[in-house]
Protein backbone atom coordinates (compact mmCIF):
# COMPACT_ATOMS: atom_id res chain seq x y z
CA UNK A 1 0.00 0.00 0.00
CA UNK A 2 2.74 2.38 1.02
CA UNK A 3 4.73 1.73 -2.13
CA UNK A 4 1.74 2.59 -4.36
CA UNK A 5 1.31 5.95 -2.63
CA UNK A 6 5.01 6.68 -2.93
CA UNK A 7 5.05 5.88 -6.62
CA UNK A 8 2.10 8.20 -7.26
CA UNK A 9 3.68 11.08 -5.40
CA UNK A 10 6.97 10.51 -7.22
CA UNK A 11 5.14 10.75 -10.53
CA UNK A 12 3.44 13.93 -9.42
CA UNK A 13 6.82 15.38 -8.47
CA UNK A 14 8.22 14.48 -11.87
CA UNK A 15 5.29 16.13 -13.57
CA UNK A 16 5.75 19.27 -11.54
CA UNK A 17 9.38 19.42 -12.61
CA UNK A 18 8.52 19.18 -16.30
CA UNK A 19 6.39 22.03 -17.75
CA UNK A 20 2.98 21.07 -18.94
CA UNK A 21 2.95 20.40 -22.72
CA UNK A 22 1.31 23.02 -24.92
CA UNK A 23 -2.03 21.58 -25.91
CA UNK A 24 -2.66 21.26 -29.65
CA UNK A 25 -6.23 20.80 -30.74
CA UNK A 26 -5.70 21.05 -34.46
CA UNK A 27 -2.49 20.70 -36.34
CA UNK A 28 -1.04 23.80 -38.06
CA UNK A 29 2.24 24.60 -39.77
CA UNK A 30 4.36 23.86 -36.73
CA UNK A 31 3.93 20.23 -35.67
CA UNK A 32 2.92 19.46 -32.07
CA UNK A 33 6.15 17.55 -31.67
CA UNK A 34 8.29 20.51 -32.73
CA UNK A 35 6.20 22.83 -30.59
CA UNK A 36 6.78 20.76 -27.48
CA UNK A 37 10.49 20.28 -27.93
CA UNK A 38 12.63 22.24 -25.50
CA UNK A 39 13.45 25.04 -27.99
CA UNK A 40 10.06 24.91 -29.62
CA UNK A 41 8.48 25.73 -26.30
CA UNK A 42 10.88 28.59 -25.60
CA UNK A 43 10.33 30.10 -29.01
CA UNK A 44 6.58 29.65 -28.66
CA UNK A 45 6.39 31.59 -25.40
CA UNK A 46 8.69 34.30 -26.73
CA UNK A 47 6.52 34.70 -29.85
CA UNK A 48 3.33 34.68 -27.80
CA UNK A 49 4.67 37.38 -25.50
CA UNK A 50 5.86 39.52 -28.42
CA UNK A 51 2.55 39.21 -30.24
CA UNK A 52 0.59 40.05 -27.10
CA UNK A 53 2.72 43.09 -26.32
CA UNK A 54 2.80 44.34 -29.87
CA UNK A 55 -0.89 43.93 -30.60
CA UNK A 56 -1.84 45.55 -27.31
CA UNK A 57 0.43 48.50 -28.10
CA UNK A 58 -0.84 48.78 -31.66
CA UNK A 59 -4.56 48.36 -31.09
CA UNK A 60 -5.39 49.00 -27.44
CA UNK A 61 -2.90 51.71 -26.55
CA UNK A 62 -4.29 54.24 -29.09
CA UNK A 63 -7.70 53.79 -27.50
CA UNK A 64 -6.21 54.14 -24.02
CA UNK A 65 -4.58 57.35 -25.22
CA UNK A 66 -7.92 58.59 -26.50
CA UNK A 67 -9.76 57.87 -23.24
CA UNK A 68 -7.04 59.29 -21.00
CA UNK A 69 -6.61 62.25 -23.35
CA UNK A 70 -10.25 63.09 -22.76
CA UNK A 71 -9.63 63.00 -18.99
CA UNK A 72 -6.63 65.34 -19.02
CA UNK A 73 -6.80 69.11 -18.70
CA UNK A 74 -5.93 71.20 -21.74
CA UNK A 75 -2.70 72.27 -20.10
CA UNK A 76 -1.65 68.68 -19.34
CA UNK A 77 -2.57 67.60 -22.86
CA UNK A 78 -0.13 70.09 -24.40
CA UNK A 79 2.71 69.12 -22.06
CA UNK A 80 5.88 67.55 -23.50
CA UNK A 81 6.74 64.81 -22.77
CA UNK A 82 3.14 63.68 -22.24
CA UNK A 83 1.96 62.08 -19.02
CA UNK A 84 1.16 58.38 -19.28
CA UNK A 85 -1.57 58.54 -16.65
CA UNK A 86 -3.72 61.66 -16.23
CA UNK A 87 -2.56 63.56 -13.15
CA UNK A 88 -5.95 64.85 -12.10
CA UNK A 89 -8.49 62.88 -14.13
CA UNK A 90 -11.67 64.86 -14.70
CA UNK A 91 -14.78 64.30 -16.72
CA UNK A 92 -15.09 68.01 -17.52
CA UNK A 93 -14.16 67.46 -21.15
CA UNK A 94 -17.06 65.03 -21.52
CA UNK A 95 -19.50 67.60 -20.18
CA UNK A 96 -17.95 70.22 -22.43
CA UNK A 97 -18.13 67.95 -25.49
CA UNK A 98 -21.72 67.03 -24.70
CA UNK A 99 -22.61 70.74 -24.73
CA UNK A 100 -20.48 71.88 -27.67
CA UNK A 101 -21.26 69.08 -30.07
CA UNK A 102 -24.85 68.69 -28.87
CA UNK A 103 -24.05 65.01 -28.59
CA UNK A 104 -27.40 64.06 -27.07
CA UNK A 105 -29.16 65.18 -30.23
CA UNK A 106 -26.54 63.62 -32.53
CA UNK A 107 -26.76 60.27 -30.73
CA UNK A 108 -30.55 60.34 -30.83
CA UNK A 109 -30.47 61.10 -34.57
CA UNK A 110 -27.95 58.35 -35.26
CA UNK A 111 -29.89 55.79 -33.22
CA UNK A 112 -33.13 56.75 -34.96
CA UNK A 113 -31.55 56.41 -38.42
CA UNK A 114 -29.92 53.10 -37.48
CA UNK A 115 -33.08 51.52 -36.04
CA UNK A 116 -35.37 52.86 -38.75
CA UNK A 117 -32.91 51.70 -41.40
CA UNK A 118 -32.80 48.29 -39.77
CA UNK A 119 -36.60 47.94 -39.83
CA UNK A 120 -36.86 49.04 -43.47
CA UNK A 121 -33.92 46.89 -44.59
CA UNK A 122 -35.20 43.78 -42.82
CA UNK A 123 -38.75 44.19 -44.13
CA UNK A 124 -37.59 44.72 -47.71
CA UNK A 125 -34.73 42.22 -47.85
CA UNK A 126 -36.33 39.37 -45.90
CA UNK A 127 -39.47 39.39 -48.01
CA UNK A 128 -37.43 39.59 -51.21
CA UNK A 129 -35.19 36.71 -50.17
CA UNK A 130 -38.26 34.70 -49.14
CA UNK A 131 -39.90 35.27 -52.52
CA UNK A 132 -36.74 34.33 -54.40
CA UNK A 133 -36.02 31.27 -52.29
CA UNK A 134 -39.41 29.73 -51.54
CA UNK A 135 -41.98 31.20 -53.94
CA UNK A 136 -39.62 30.96 -56.92
CA UNK A 137 -41.28 33.30 -59.42
CA UNK A 138 -40.55 33.32 -63.14
CA UNK A 139 -37.35 35.26 -63.88
CA UNK A 140 -36.38 34.98 -60.21
CA UNK A 141 -32.79 34.18 -61.10
CA UNK A 142 -32.56 37.18 -63.39
CA UNK A 143 -33.80 39.42 -60.57
CA UNK A 144 -31.33 37.89 -58.14
CA UNK A 145 -28.50 38.29 -60.64
CA UNK A 146 -29.37 41.94 -61.20
CA UNK A 147 -29.41 42.52 -57.44
CA UNK A 148 -26.06 40.79 -56.93
CA UNK A 149 -24.59 42.72 -59.85
CA UNK A 150 -24.94 45.93 -57.83
CA UNK A 151 -22.29 44.55 -55.44
CA UNK A 152 -19.79 44.88 -58.27
CA UNK A 153 -20.39 48.61 -58.62
CA UNK A 154 -17.92 50.62 -56.54
CA UNK A 155 -19.97 52.74 -54.10
CA UNK A 156 -17.96 55.93 -54.67
CA UNK A 157 -18.70 55.77 -58.40
CA UNK A 158 -22.46 55.85 -57.97
CA UNK A 159 -22.27 58.26 -55.06
CA UNK A 160 -22.86 61.40 -57.14
CA UNK A 161 -25.68 60.01 -59.34
CA UNK A 162 -27.31 58.54 -56.23
CA UNK A 163 -27.10 61.95 -54.59
CA UNK A 164 -28.64 63.53 -57.68
CA UNK A 165 -31.44 60.92 -57.64
CA UNK A 166 -32.19 61.44 -53.95
CA UNK A 167 -32.11 65.18 -54.46
CA UNK A 168 -34.55 64.92 -57.39
CA UNK A 169 -36.92 62.94 -55.19
CA UNK A 170 -36.72 65.63 -52.50
CA UNK A 171 -35.32 63.20 -49.95
CA UNK A 172 -32.38 65.36 -48.81
CA UNK A 173 -32.48 65.86 -45.05
CA UNK A 174 -35.13 63.16 -44.86
CA UNK A 175 -34.40 59.86 -43.06
CA UNK A 176 -35.88 57.97 -46.03
CA UNK A 177 -32.93 59.29 -48.02
CA UNK A 178 -30.76 57.08 -45.80
CA UNK A 179 -33.12 54.15 -45.36
CA UNK A 180 -34.25 53.38 -48.89
CA UNK A 181 -30.77 53.26 -50.49
CA UNK A 182 -29.60 51.11 -47.55
CA UNK A 183 -32.42 48.63 -48.16
CA UNK A 184 -31.18 48.02 -51.72
CA UNK A 185 -28.49 45.70 -50.37
CA UNK A 186 -27.70 42.74 -52.60
CA UNK A 187 -25.43 41.13 -50.04
CA UNK A 188 -28.17 40.89 -47.41
CA UNK A 189 -30.49 39.30 -49.94
CA UNK A 190 -27.77 36.85 -50.94
CA UNK A 191 -27.09 35.82 -47.32
CA UNK A 192 -30.77 35.51 -46.43
CA UNK A 193 -31.68 33.61 -49.57
CA UNK A 194 -28.82 31.17 -49.08
CA UNK A 195 -30.06 30.45 -45.57
CA UNK A 196 -33.72 30.15 -46.62
CA UNK A 197 -32.64 27.72 -49.36
CA UNK A 198 -31.32 25.40 -46.67
CA UNK A 199 -34.69 25.20 -44.89
CA UNK A 200 -36.33 21.87 -45.85
CA UNK A 201 -39.16 22.08 -48.36
CA UNK A 202 -41.25 19.70 -46.22
CA UNK A 203 -41.47 22.27 -43.44
CA UNK A 204 -43.05 24.80 -45.78
CA UNK A 205 -45.30 22.22 -47.46
CA UNK A 206 -46.62 20.98 -44.13
CA UNK A 207 -47.62 24.50 -43.21
CA UNK A 208 -49.27 25.01 -46.61
CA UNK A 209 -51.30 21.81 -46.16
CA UNK A 210 -52.43 23.14 -42.80
CA UNK A 211 -53.89 26.04 -44.75
CA UNK A 212 -51.31 28.74 -44.00
CA UNK A 213 -50.90 31.51 -46.56
CA UNK A 214 -47.49 32.65 -47.82
CA UNK A 215 -47.26 35.49 -45.28
CA UNK A 216 -48.11 33.11 -42.44
CA UNK A 217 -45.45 30.66 -43.66
CA UNK A 218 -42.85 33.42 -43.65
CA UNK A 219 -43.83 34.65 -40.20
CA UNK A 220 -44.40 31.36 -38.36
CA UNK A 221 -42.15 28.88 -40.18
CA UNK A 222 -39.26 30.63 -41.92
CA UNK A 223 -38.47 33.44 -39.50
CA UNK A 224 -38.32 31.36 -36.29
CA UNK A 225 -35.81 28.90 -37.77
CA UNK A 226 -33.75 31.68 -39.37
CA UNK A 227 -32.79 33.43 -36.16
CA UNK A 228 -29.01 33.00 -36.60
CA UNK A 229 -28.89 34.65 -40.02
CA UNK A 230 -31.41 37.32 -39.02
CA UNK A 231 -29.14 38.14 -36.08
CA UNK A 232 -26.06 38.45 -38.28
CA UNK A 233 -27.80 40.60 -40.89
CA UNK A 234 -29.38 42.80 -38.19
CA UNK A 235 -26.13 43.46 -36.38
CA UNK A 236 -24.31 44.28 -39.60
CA UNK A 237 -27.08 46.57 -40.82
CA UNK A 238 -27.21 48.51 -37.56
CA UNK A 239 -23.45 48.76 -37.11
CA UNK A 240 -22.87 49.78 -40.74
CA UNK A 241 -25.47 52.49 -40.52
CA UNK A 242 -24.02 53.73 -37.24
CA UNK A 243 -20.50 53.89 -38.72
CA UNK A 244 -21.49 55.33 -42.07
CA UNK A 245 -19.95 58.69 -42.86
CA UNK A 246 -19.89 59.71 -46.51
CA UNK A 247 -23.56 59.21 -47.36
CA UNK A 248 -24.98 60.96 -44.26
CA UNK A 249 -22.44 63.73 -44.89
CA UNK A 250 -24.10 64.41 -48.22
CA UNK A 251 -27.73 63.73 -47.32
CA UNK A 252 -28.19 64.92 -43.73
CA UNK A 253 -26.74 68.40 -43.88
CA UNK A 254 -29.04 70.28 -41.46
CA UNK A 255 -27.14 70.67 -38.23
CA UNK A 256 -30.05 69.32 -36.18
CA UNK A 257 -30.35 66.21 -38.37
CA UNK A 258 -26.71 65.17 -38.58
CA UNK A 259 -25.40 61.80 -37.46
CA UNK A 260 -22.78 61.67 -34.74
CA UNK A 261 -19.94 61.01 -37.20
CA UNK A 262 -20.86 63.95 -39.38
CA UNK A 263 -21.55 66.22 -36.40
CA UNK A 264 -18.14 65.49 -34.90
CA UNK A 265 -16.38 66.03 -38.20
CA UNK A 266 -18.05 69.40 -38.74
CA UNK A 267 -17.36 70.82 -35.28
CA UNK A 268 -13.98 69.19 -34.59
CA UNK A 269 -12.00 72.17 -35.89
CA UNK A 270 -13.57 74.61 -33.46
CA UNK A 271 -13.21 72.94 -30.05
CA UNK A 272 -10.34 72.05 -27.72
CA UNK A 273 -8.43 68.80 -28.13
CA UNK A 274 -9.68 67.14 -24.95
CA UNK A 275 -13.29 67.90 -25.88
CA UNK A 276 -12.73 66.30 -29.31
CA UNK A 277 -11.33 63.19 -27.62
CA UNK A 278 -14.30 63.07 -25.26
CA UNK A 279 -16.60 63.30 -28.28
CA UNK A 280 -14.73 60.47 -29.99
CA UNK A 281 -14.96 58.28 -26.88
CA UNK A 282 -18.71 58.79 -26.72
CA UNK A 283 -19.07 58.11 -30.46
CA UNK A 284 -16.97 54.96 -30.19
CA UNK A 285 -18.69 53.40 -27.18
CA UNK A 286 -21.90 52.08 -28.83
CA UNK A 287 -20.21 50.01 -31.54
CA UNK A 288 -17.54 48.70 -29.18
CA UNK A 289 -20.24 47.61 -26.72
CA UNK A 290 -22.11 45.88 -29.55
CA UNK A 291 -18.88 44.14 -30.52
CA UNK A 292 -18.33 43.05 -26.94
CA UNK A 293 -21.70 41.35 -26.73
CA UNK A 294 -22.11 40.04 -30.27
CA UNK A 295 -18.51 39.12 -31.05
CA UNK A 296 -19.41 35.63 -32.19
CA UNK A 297 -22.16 36.79 -34.56
CA UNK A 298 -19.99 39.52 -36.02
CA UNK A 299 -17.10 37.18 -36.69
CA UNK A 300 -19.43 34.59 -38.20
CA UNK A 301 -20.89 37.25 -40.47
CA UNK A 302 -17.42 38.35 -41.48
CA UNK A 303 -16.40 34.92 -42.68
CA UNK A 304 -19.73 34.55 -44.48
CA UNK A 305 -18.73 37.82 -46.11
CA UNK A 306 -15.46 36.43 -47.34
CA UNK A 307 -17.21 34.46 -50.05
CA UNK A 308 -19.43 37.37 -51.00
CA UNK A 309 -17.50 38.49 -54.06
Amino acid sequence: MISVGARASARRARERGRPRPIEVRFRTIVSPHQLNSRWGRRIYWAVLLTVLTFSTLAFVFPLYWMVTGAMKSGEELARMPPTLVPQAPTLDAFAEAWELFDIGLLLRNTAFYALGGWLVTMAVDVSAAYALSKLRPALGNVVLGAMLATLMVPPMVVLIPLYVTVSDLGLLNDPWGLWLPAAANGFNIFLLKRFFDSIPKELVEAALIDGAGPLRVLWSVILPVSRPILGVVSIFTIVTSFKDFVWPLLVMTDSDRMTISVGLSQTAGAVSQNAIMAGLVIAGIPTVVVFFFFQRHIMAGLTAGSIKG
Partner: protein, 292 residues
Amino acid sequence: MRVLKRNLTAYGFLCAALACFAVFAWYPMVREFVLSFQRTNLVDPPEWAGLDNFAAVVRDPAFGTAWLNTVAFTVLALICGYVVPFATALVLNELRHAQGYLRFVVYLPVMLPPIVAVLLFRWFFDPGPGLFNQILGLFHLPGLAWLDSSSTALISLVIVSTWMNMGSATLIYLAALQNIPSELYEAAELDGAGILARIRHVTIPQTRLILLLMLMLQIVATMQVFIEPYMLTGGGPENATVTVAYLMYQFAFTYGDGYGQAGALGMMLMLALLVFAAFQLRLTRDDREVTA
Protein backbone atom coordinates in the same frame (compact mmCIF):
# COMPACT_ATOMS: atom_id res chain seq x y z
CA MET B 1 -54.01 29.77 -62.95
CA ARG B 2 -52.10 28.37 -59.96
CA VAL B 3 -48.84 29.37 -61.62
CA LEU B 4 -50.12 32.88 -62.25
CA LYS B 5 -51.24 33.21 -58.63
CA ARG B 6 -47.92 31.96 -57.32
CA ASN B 7 -46.05 34.46 -59.48
CA LEU B 8 -48.31 37.28 -58.36
CA THR B 9 -47.71 36.53 -54.66
CA ALA B 10 -43.99 36.18 -55.28
CA TYR B 11 -43.76 39.53 -57.00
CA GLY B 12 -45.92 40.99 -54.26
CA PHE B 13 -43.20 40.04 -51.77
CA LEU B 14 -40.54 41.27 -54.17
CA CYS B 15 -42.04 44.63 -55.14
CA ALA B 16 -40.55 46.68 -52.29
CA ALA B 17 -37.06 45.36 -53.01
CA LEU B 18 -37.52 45.82 -56.75
CA ALA B 19 -38.56 49.42 -56.22
CA CYS B 20 -35.61 50.13 -53.91
CA PHE B 21 -33.12 48.55 -56.28
CA ALA B 22 -34.64 50.20 -59.33
CA VAL B 23 -34.55 53.70 -57.89
CA PHE B 24 -31.44 53.58 -55.68
CA ALA B 25 -29.18 51.00 -57.32
CA TRP B 26 -29.99 50.34 -60.98
CA TYR B 27 -31.14 53.80 -62.04
CA PRO B 28 -28.09 55.61 -60.53
CA MET B 29 -25.85 53.43 -62.72
CA VAL B 30 -27.68 54.68 -65.82
CA ARG B 31 -27.82 58.16 -64.37
CA GLU B 32 -24.05 58.11 -63.87
CA PHE B 33 -23.60 57.52 -67.58
CA VAL B 34 -26.10 60.20 -68.60
CA LEU B 35 -24.84 62.67 -66.01
CA SER B 36 -21.34 62.62 -67.40
CA PHE B 37 -22.66 64.10 -70.66
CA GLN B 38 -24.85 66.72 -68.97
CA ARG B 39 -24.56 70.16 -67.47
CA THR B 40 -26.81 70.42 -64.43
CA ASN B 41 -27.17 72.33 -61.19
CA LEU B 42 -30.01 70.08 -59.95
CA VAL B 43 -32.49 72.98 -60.22
CA ASP B 44 -32.79 73.90 -63.91
CA PRO B 45 -33.42 71.15 -66.45
CA PRO B 46 -30.08 69.54 -67.44
CA GLU B 47 -28.48 70.43 -70.77
CA TRP B 48 -26.53 68.21 -73.13
CA ALA B 49 -22.82 68.92 -72.78
CA GLY B 50 -21.24 66.39 -75.09
CA LEU B 51 -17.69 65.62 -74.03
CA ASP B 52 -17.21 68.99 -72.29
CA ASN B 53 -17.23 67.41 -68.85
CA PHE B 54 -14.54 64.93 -69.74
CA ALA B 55 -12.44 67.70 -71.27
CA ALA B 56 -12.87 69.87 -68.17
CA VAL B 57 -11.90 67.01 -65.88
CA VAL B 58 -8.79 66.13 -67.85
CA ARG B 59 -7.76 69.78 -68.02
CA ASP B 60 -8.05 70.19 -64.24
CA PRO B 61 -4.56 70.77 -62.79
CA ALA B 62 -5.13 68.15 -60.06
CA PHE B 63 -6.31 65.43 -62.48
CA GLY B 64 -2.96 63.73 -63.15
CA THR B 65 -1.85 64.12 -59.56
CA ALA B 66 -5.08 62.60 -58.28
CA TRP B 67 -4.56 59.44 -60.34
CA LEU B 68 -0.91 59.17 -59.36
CA ASN B 69 -1.80 59.66 -55.70
CA THR B 70 -4.59 57.11 -55.87
CA VAL B 71 -2.30 54.53 -57.44
CA ALA B 72 0.49 55.34 -54.96
CA PHE B 73 -1.97 55.09 -52.06
CA THR B 74 -3.28 51.77 -53.33
CA VAL B 75 0.20 50.31 -53.78
CA LEU B 76 1.36 51.49 -50.35
CA ALA B 77 -1.87 50.34 -48.74
CA LEU B 78 -1.40 46.92 -50.34
CA ILE B 79 2.16 46.61 -49.10
CA CYS B 80 0.95 47.30 -45.56
CA GLY B 81 -2.65 46.20 -45.71
CA TYR B 82 -2.16 42.99 -47.64
CA VAL B 83 1.04 41.48 -46.32
CA VAL B 84 0.60 42.49 -42.69
CA PRO B 85 -2.85 40.89 -42.16
CA PHE B 86 -1.77 37.61 -43.78
CA ALA B 87 1.42 37.45 -41.71
CA THR B 88 -0.59 38.30 -38.59
CA ALA B 89 -3.10 35.57 -39.37
CA LEU B 90 -0.30 33.05 -39.93
CA VAL B 91 1.20 33.81 -36.53
CA LEU B 92 -2.16 33.94 -34.73
CA ASN B 93 -3.07 30.56 -36.15
CA GLU B 94 0.02 29.03 -34.56
CA LEU B 95 -0.73 30.41 -31.11
CA ARG B 96 -2.52 28.19 -28.60
CA HIS B 97 -3.19 30.87 -26.01
CA ALA B 98 -5.01 34.22 -25.88
CA GLN B 99 -6.58 33.60 -29.32
CA GLY B 100 -9.87 35.17 -28.27
CA TYR B 101 -8.18 38.27 -26.88
CA LEU B 102 -5.98 38.70 -29.96
CA ARG B 103 -8.88 38.39 -32.37
CA PHE B 104 -10.93 40.84 -30.36
CA VAL B 105 -8.11 43.36 -30.25
CA VAL B 106 -7.23 43.10 -33.94
CA TYR B 107 -10.85 43.62 -34.96
CA LEU B 108 -11.54 46.41 -32.46
CA PRO B 109 -10.52 49.31 -34.76
CA VAL B 110 -12.80 47.97 -37.50
CA MET B 111 -15.77 48.37 -35.17
CA LEU B 112 -15.04 52.02 -34.43
CA PRO B 113 -16.75 54.54 -36.67
CA PRO B 114 -14.09 55.57 -39.22
CA ILE B 115 -14.42 59.18 -38.15
CA VAL B 116 -13.26 58.24 -34.64
CA ALA B 117 -10.14 56.51 -35.95
CA VAL B 118 -9.37 59.32 -38.36
CA LEU B 119 -9.76 62.16 -35.85
CA LEU B 120 -7.80 60.19 -33.24
CA PHE B 121 -4.91 59.77 -35.65
CA ARG B 122 -5.08 63.40 -36.65
CA TRP B 123 -4.13 64.14 -33.07
CA PHE B 124 -1.37 61.49 -33.06
CA PHE B 125 0.08 63.07 -36.21
CA ASP B 126 0.27 66.51 -34.58
CA PRO B 127 3.93 67.55 -35.03
CA GLY B 128 4.04 69.11 -31.55
CA PRO B 129 2.51 67.12 -28.68
CA GLY B 130 1.26 64.36 -31.00
CA LEU B 131 1.85 60.79 -29.86
CA PHE B 132 3.98 59.71 -32.83
CA ASN B 133 6.57 62.45 -32.52
CA GLN B 134 6.68 61.88 -28.77
CA ILE B 135 7.45 58.21 -29.37
CA LEU B 136 10.15 59.13 -31.90
CA GLY B 137 11.55 61.56 -29.32
CA LEU B 138 11.71 58.71 -26.81
CA PHE B 139 14.24 57.03 -29.09
CA HIS B 140 16.00 60.38 -29.71
CA LEU B 141 14.82 60.45 -33.30
CA PRO B 142 13.83 63.73 -34.96
CA GLY B 143 10.07 64.34 -35.27
CA LEU B 144 8.32 64.25 -38.61
CA ALA B 145 5.85 66.74 -40.05
CA TRP B 146 3.44 63.87 -40.92
CA LEU B 147 0.36 65.39 -42.51
CA ASP B 148 1.98 68.80 -43.00
CA SER B 149 4.67 67.67 -45.40
CA SER B 150 3.99 66.57 -48.94
CA SER B 151 6.57 63.79 -48.60
CA THR B 152 4.98 62.08 -45.56
CA ALA B 153 1.30 63.00 -45.92
CA LEU B 154 0.34 60.10 -48.16
CA ILE B 155 2.10 57.48 -46.07
CA SER B 156 0.40 58.93 -42.98
CA LEU B 157 -2.95 58.30 -44.63
CA VAL B 158 -1.86 54.74 -45.38
CA ILE B 159 -1.03 54.21 -41.70
CA VAL B 160 -4.51 55.29 -40.57
CA SER B 161 -6.16 53.29 -43.28
CA THR B 162 -4.25 50.12 -42.42
CA TRP B 163 -4.87 50.52 -38.69
CA MET B 164 -8.60 50.82 -39.07
CA ASN B 165 -9.11 48.21 -41.79
CA MET B 166 -6.66 45.36 -41.30
CA GLY B 167 -8.76 43.52 -38.69
CA SER B 168 -11.34 42.17 -41.10
CA ALA B 169 -8.74 40.87 -43.56
CA THR B 170 -6.85 39.21 -40.71
CA LEU B 171 -9.91 37.38 -39.44
CA ILE B 172 -10.90 36.28 -42.93
CA TYR B 173 -7.42 34.83 -43.51
CA LEU B 174 -7.53 33.18 -40.11
CA ALA B 175 -10.76 31.42 -41.01
CA ALA B 176 -9.21 30.29 -44.30
CA LEU B 177 -6.12 28.97 -42.53
CA GLN B 178 -8.24 26.93 -40.14
CA ASN B 179 -9.88 25.19 -43.09
CA ILE B 180 -6.60 23.69 -44.28
CA PRO B 181 -6.70 19.94 -43.56
CA SER B 182 -3.97 18.99 -41.10
CA GLU B 183 -3.09 15.85 -43.13
CA LEU B 184 -1.50 18.13 -45.72
CA TYR B 185 0.93 19.49 -43.16
CA GLU B 186 1.65 16.02 -41.84
CA ALA B 187 2.35 14.73 -45.33
CA ALA B 188 4.60 17.70 -46.08
CA GLU B 189 6.46 17.12 -42.84
CA LEU B 190 6.98 13.44 -43.66
CA ASP B 191 8.45 14.54 -46.98
CA GLY B 192 10.95 16.58 -45.04
CA ALA B 193 9.53 20.04 -45.65
CA GLY B 194 10.66 22.67 -43.16
CA ILE B 195 8.42 25.41 -41.79
CA LEU B 196 9.03 27.82 -44.67
CA ALA B 197 8.56 25.07 -47.24
CA ARG B 198 5.28 24.11 -45.56
CA ILE B 199 4.09 27.70 -45.83
CA ARG B 200 5.12 27.86 -49.47
CA HIS B 201 3.83 24.49 -50.62
CA VAL B 202 0.80 23.95 -48.38
CA THR B 203 -0.47 27.17 -46.79
CA ILE B 204 -0.24 29.49 -49.77
CA PRO B 205 -1.65 27.11 -52.41
CA GLN B 206 -4.49 26.18 -50.03
CA THR B 207 -5.44 29.83 -49.45
CA ARG B 208 -4.69 30.98 -52.99
CA LEU B 209 -8.29 31.75 -53.93
CA ILE B 210 -9.09 33.78 -50.86
CA LEU B 211 -5.77 35.59 -51.19
CA LEU B 212 -6.53 36.59 -54.78
CA LEU B 213 -10.11 37.52 -53.92
CA MET B 214 -9.02 39.75 -51.06
CA LEU B 215 -6.38 41.33 -53.28
CA MET B 216 -9.04 42.37 -55.76
CA LEU B 217 -11.44 43.53 -53.03
CA GLN B 218 -8.73 45.61 -51.41
CA ILE B 219 -7.62 47.20 -54.66
CA VAL B 220 -11.18 48.19 -55.47
CA ALA B 221 -11.76 49.48 -51.93
CA THR B 222 -8.55 51.48 -51.60
CA MET B 223 -8.89 53.04 -55.06
CA GLN B 224 -12.01 54.73 -53.68
CA VAL B 225 -10.30 56.23 -50.64
CA PHE B 226 -12.11 59.36 -49.52
CA ILE B 227 -12.55 59.87 -45.76
CA GLU B 228 -8.83 59.99 -45.00
CA PRO B 229 -7.93 62.82 -47.40
CA TYR B 230 -11.23 64.59 -46.71
CA MET B 231 -10.75 64.68 -42.93
CA LEU B 232 -6.98 64.71 -42.53
CA THR B 233 -5.44 66.80 -45.27
CA GLY B 234 -8.12 68.29 -47.49
CA GLY B 235 -6.05 67.03 -50.41
CA GLY B 236 -2.99 69.04 -49.35
CA PRO B 237 -0.22 69.87 -48.83
CA GLU B 238 0.28 70.95 -52.46
CA ASN B 239 -2.20 68.37 -53.75
CA ALA B 240 -0.03 65.58 -52.34
CA THR B 241 -3.07 63.66 -51.10
CA VAL B 242 -5.77 64.52 -53.64
CA THR B 243 -7.30 61.20 -54.64
CA VAL B 244 -9.72 60.52 -57.47
CA ALA B 245 -12.69 60.09 -55.13
CA TYR B 246 -11.79 63.27 -53.28
CA LEU B 247 -11.45 65.20 -56.54
CA MET B 248 -14.87 63.87 -57.54
CA TYR B 249 -16.34 65.20 -54.31
CA GLN B 250 -14.70 68.55 -54.94
CA PHE B 251 -16.07 68.80 -58.46
CA ALA B 252 -19.59 68.11 -57.20
CA PHE B 253 -19.70 70.04 -53.95
CA THR B 254 -16.80 72.50 -53.71
CA TYR B 255 -16.30 73.81 -57.25
CA GLY B 256 -20.02 74.50 -57.51
CA ASP B 257 -22.50 72.62 -59.68
CA GLY B 258 -19.87 70.39 -61.24
CA TYR B 259 -22.09 67.30 -60.96
CA GLY B 260 -21.48 66.57 -64.63
CA GLN B 261 -17.70 66.73 -64.20
CA ALA B 262 -17.93 64.56 -61.10
CA GLY B 263 -19.96 62.10 -63.15
CA ALA B 264 -17.34 62.10 -65.91
CA LEU B 265 -14.56 61.44 -63.41
CA GLY B 266 -16.71 58.74 -61.83
CA MET B 267 -17.03 57.05 -65.23
CA MET B 268 -13.25 56.99 -65.57
CA LEU B 269 -12.85 55.53 -62.08
CA MET B 270 -15.53 52.99 -62.92
CA LEU B 271 -13.68 51.87 -66.05
CA ALA B 272 -10.44 51.52 -64.11
CA LEU B 273 -12.12 49.44 -61.43
CA LEU B 274 -14.21 47.39 -63.84
CA VAL B 275 -11.12 45.46 -64.87
CA PHE B 276 -10.53 44.40 -61.28
CA ALA B 277 -14.21 43.76 -60.63
CA ALA B 278 -14.44 41.46 -63.65
CA PHE B 279 -11.43 39.51 -62.48
CA GLN B 280 -12.95 39.28 -59.00
CA LEU B 281 -16.22 37.96 -60.43
CA ARG B 282 -14.36 35.18 -62.20
CA LEU B 283 -12.54 34.28 -59.02
CA THR B 284 -15.78 34.13 -57.03
CA ARG B 285 -17.20 31.77 -59.59
CA ASP B 286 -14.15 29.51 -59.30
CA ASP B 287 -14.47 29.71 -55.54
CA ARG B 288 -18.11 28.57 -55.63
CA GLU B 289 -17.22 25.66 -57.86
CA VAL B 290 -14.50 24.62 -55.47
CA THR B 291 -16.67 24.86 -52.36
CA ALA B 292 -19.75 23.34 -54.00
